[in-house]
Amino acid sequence: MSIISKIMETVVQAMPDKKPDRLIHQKKYIGQAINRVDGQLKVTGEAKFSAEYELDNICYAALAYSSIAKGKIKKLNLSAAQNAEGVITIITHENSLKLNKPVLFDPSGRSRGSAAMDIDILKDENIYWNGQPIAIVVADTQEQAEHAATLIAVEYKEGKSTLSFDANKSKAKTPSKVMMEPAEIKIGDAEKELKHAAHSTDNFYHTPRYNHNAIEPHATIAAFKEDGRLVVFDSTQGLYGVTRTVAGVFSMKPDEVQAVAPFVGGGFGGKGSVWFNTMLCVLAAKQTGRPVKLNLSREGVFRIIGGCTPSEQRVAIGADENGKFVSIVHSGITATTEHNNFPEQFSFPIRHLYASKSFYIGQKALNLDTVANTFMRAPGESIGTFAIESAIDELAYKMNMDPVELRRINEPAKDPTKETEFSSRHLIEAYQRGAKKFRWKHLPPKSQRDGEWLIGQGIATAFYPVYRFPATVKISLFADGTAIVKAAAHEMGMGTATVQLQHSADRFGLPIEKVSFQYGNSDLPEASFAGGSNQTVSVAAGISSAAEKVLEEFFKLASKNKNSPLHNLKFEDVEAKNGGLFSKNDSTKGETYIDILKEAGKGFIEAEATSDMPLEIQKYSMGSQGAQFCEVRVNEVTGEVRVIRWVGSFDTGRILNPKTATSQFRGGIVMGIGMALTEETFFDERNGRIMNPSLAEYHVPVNADVPNIEIIYNDIPDEHTPLGAHGIGEIGITGTAAAIANAIFNATGKRIRSLPVTLDKLL
């Protein structure tokens, strides 16, 4: 740790807490199971996704991809493609405008870019991965563009590539940081403690490559307006990331670029940074002078949008006679590339989950010649919890102990590696509630059967950190008693618009119908990107900051007026309710916003504010946790696995909307079921080619793979977060794969340490 950060930390620790959000226990709209406000648009087909805007004179683009992993383009033969029907232009490195190198996403905050890879776009003949876009074809119709792209003939000069994860493991290096945290942590001598521990387990766990496969493939429309401003309709989780990155690449000012994405058809991290497709679409619009639409094909998504890294993880746990941990080792390797900086943080959960006398935590990363790996729903935590929570289960069986009990006795009083206090942690309560709901019973392996089907139950802990980023929000409250909240937030199905309307209505004491929320457009104030499950709390903090300003303005206006019931009061003594400001002590004493504005002869009051720096995250150990319970059936003849029962019991602060929250938890668990049992991106190590770029062959769980998933939650507010809430978009996937693998062990007595657990592994 540098001296400066050490000083910073001491300062932060000494800082007094902020006052808890006054809405932390509010129950008017917050906490209600309100239907999604955009439901009607979504069930009628009216919700417009990014490729669905009609623009005059629009043309279509398609990409051609490299078929080698590394080397150079020797020769391009474009004549057949150029002569194909409808082709307007083909842009390759030979005729592309010279562009600036895209600036990489930077986890430290608002950097100048948000690119997924810092490779120059169509700059020269160099190839860095199999599937790299080598040309963009623009034509009058989609069919023409797609066909012409297949007619491009390329000769390559192949270079030496590094493709095999297993064969190159020894080349893995310890990165300087992992998402701004140290890559290695040593507390005591974990290896020595392990050796002398009364009970221990020590194994390797493997996870494969995964792809997000949001059902909406990445799509972009780019159009230059007459005033030179660029509009990009882009399926993105980060509007400002798009404006900054594109502006940087095309030597524009960020405010000359407008990014629009009111509806995004799922992202899961895959739309979190800016990939080649967005910039190529802009390039095509620039070089043709026409609006261009680029719908990536499903194959295109696999070729040019990265997914989750493969990993090899070692987890070793040593415990004393009573099961108390004396040693925890969690180390391993993930893959990344030379063109990004994302050693996936699989070791983050273990930093916060269990008390132990000693720790060794260490991450290494290995560069391969592939498309950049990227965030995929709970990056790090999804694969990390698979390894840890499998290992805990192994130890529990070895010790003949109920795995719930083993976790209970190792629950730490404070953060085991940071040694800070937890802001809000009620994991054991989540376990107790979950166990009751699930009717949990710890039975010996292979002891339950129904004909050919072996039955088993498994549990695992879910964990995801709390992130918050400063967010800017603008609010206008009008003389007719309506309010508009504006923030460049994102709606990919998390329920952002719904929940923030509930929040805003309560914040102002207005009926929810009187409030509207504008989002999905970078011409609105910069809220936060949708990632790291931060958006709900970040935007909430932005709204409360802006609301506070608006309310203060109202108070000033009213209290200036001698006739106002608020005249003699202090701002601290009033609260927003019943459509205005009223005395906290006497709710008859006050004025509505309508009256205040009428009296002052004003049409509206408007304020913009940015929420504070998230120092609470440094002061406290802030995480969400949960307990996953599942039951599986494994066919003894065929090895087929069916998940048949699920209870997810979560401790994630306050639940703002039980309906949308339940969907979020379930969605994560469903993706976790895929991760555990069916999903894997096939990467041919001979040439770096992804071999199943298709939803027919990459097996996302179907309806029949998913049981009824019951969700319960503690609903205990965290006093240190806006509204007492935590983000919940990612935690559902964590622990899920381990719970399934553990249940499979309980059913069959077979411990599978490599995902996905396909039936061949159980035969």
Binding site: T638, T678, A696, V702, A704
Partner: protein
């Protein structure tokens, strides 16, 4: 997808005539395989002949009790057909285990028979594939071959035929009726698809320009006791890793009649003649079922990722036969 000429045929003769030209032509039924392959540039016909308007959409019972299925009967209609459900439940089951409700509404009987492999390397234009590009090699043999064949493979190709319906039809001893410019011919279902040999690009005995007009299933009572079991990577909407279609008739504890076919294991729906022969007149015991399965898979050959299919096929076969007892 390349540009092509579209022709809609209203009669069988017209369809055959349209297909008897020098240029490459393809019939289109539901399009669920052809459109996909054309989009992937694997099929590049100059002419596409729409056969969905042909009057081949009926399932009829012939005088001798055979069931004639028009080649344009949609998969879902065939699966829901009352006669089929009663006489050949295995065929309904096989169809219902394939693809999805939507695809079954589109897929035709003829198109299902003619669908091509799902081999990853066949689908990727940049890969070496003897089926797509004869003589180029086979990237699957040393590549991702988890879904590939274990029976009847060759050095040139180890792909499977992906159909479920065809497995049941092969088991039922169906015949395929085709019509071309030289008239009509009848082909045993089990002879229709070919093993890869040296020419994996030639998948069936159908000649260019010939049209499948119907499938005829001969009368047989014992196939009422039949079953289709599909083992796959998802609970639904996934191709078979291994599937088994079987029918069994037992009399006084011994096997009077038995039929078995396997899917997901070969370049064609694999009729398990060896196992059938082994079982005829044998006592109904699990051990005999296992020995029959061993017999059938004696020559099976696994590759890096698909060896599990050998054991899986045996176990699934035994389990299905047990269920039929």
């Amino acid at each position: 997808m390349k540009l092509f000429t579209y022709k809609q045929a209203d009669g069988v003769d017209e369809a055959i005539k349209a297909a008897s030209t020098k240029t490459i032509s393809k019939f289109i039924g539901g399009g669920t395989n052809l459109v996909d392959l054309m989009r992937e540039n694997i099929e590049q016909p100059d002419t596409v002949i729409d056969v969905t308007h042909l009057p081949l959409t009926d399932v009829e019972e012939l005088e001798d009790g055979s069931i004639k299925i028009g080649s344009l009967v949609r998969n879902s209609h065939l699966a829901a057909n009352k006669i089929i459900r009663e006489k050949f439940p295995v065929l309904s089951q096989a169809i219902l285990n394939g693809a999805s409700g939507q695809l079954r509404n589109m897929a035709t009987t003829g198109g299902n028979i003619m669908q091509r492999t799902r081999c990853y390397y066949f689908y990727d234009e940049t890969a070496c594939c003897n089926k797509r590009n004869p003589g180029s090699g086979c990237d699957a043999i040393d590549g991702y071959n988890r879904i590939h064949a274990i029976l009847g493979t060759s050095f040139t190709c180890i792909a499977t035929h992906p159909s479920d319906m065809c497995v049941a039809m092969a088991m039922l001893g169906a015949k395929i009726i085709v019509e071309g410019k030289n008239g009509e011919r009848e082909i045993a279902f089990t002879d229709f698809h070919k093993l890869p040999g040296d020419t994996p690009n030639i998948e069936t005995v159908l000649q260019q320009g010939e049209l499948i007009t119907s499938v005829v299933i001969p009368p047989q009572d014992f196939t009422k006791n039949s079953l289709y079991r599909k083992v796959r990577d998802r609970a639904s909407y996934a191709f078979a890793l291994v599937s088994v279609a079987a029918a069994l008739e037992v009399e006084n504890g011994s096997i009077k009649n038995v039929r078995i076919a396997l899917g997901g294991v070969a370049h064609k729906p694999w009729r398990a003649f060896k196992a059938e022969n082994y079982l005829m007149n044998k006592e109904v015991t699990e051990e005999n079922f296992m020995l029959a399965a061993e017999e059938e898979l004696k020559d099976a050959k696994g590759f890096e990722h698909n060896s599990f299919k050998i054991g899986l096929a045996k176990r699934t076969m035994v389990s299905v036969l047990k269920e039929l007892v």
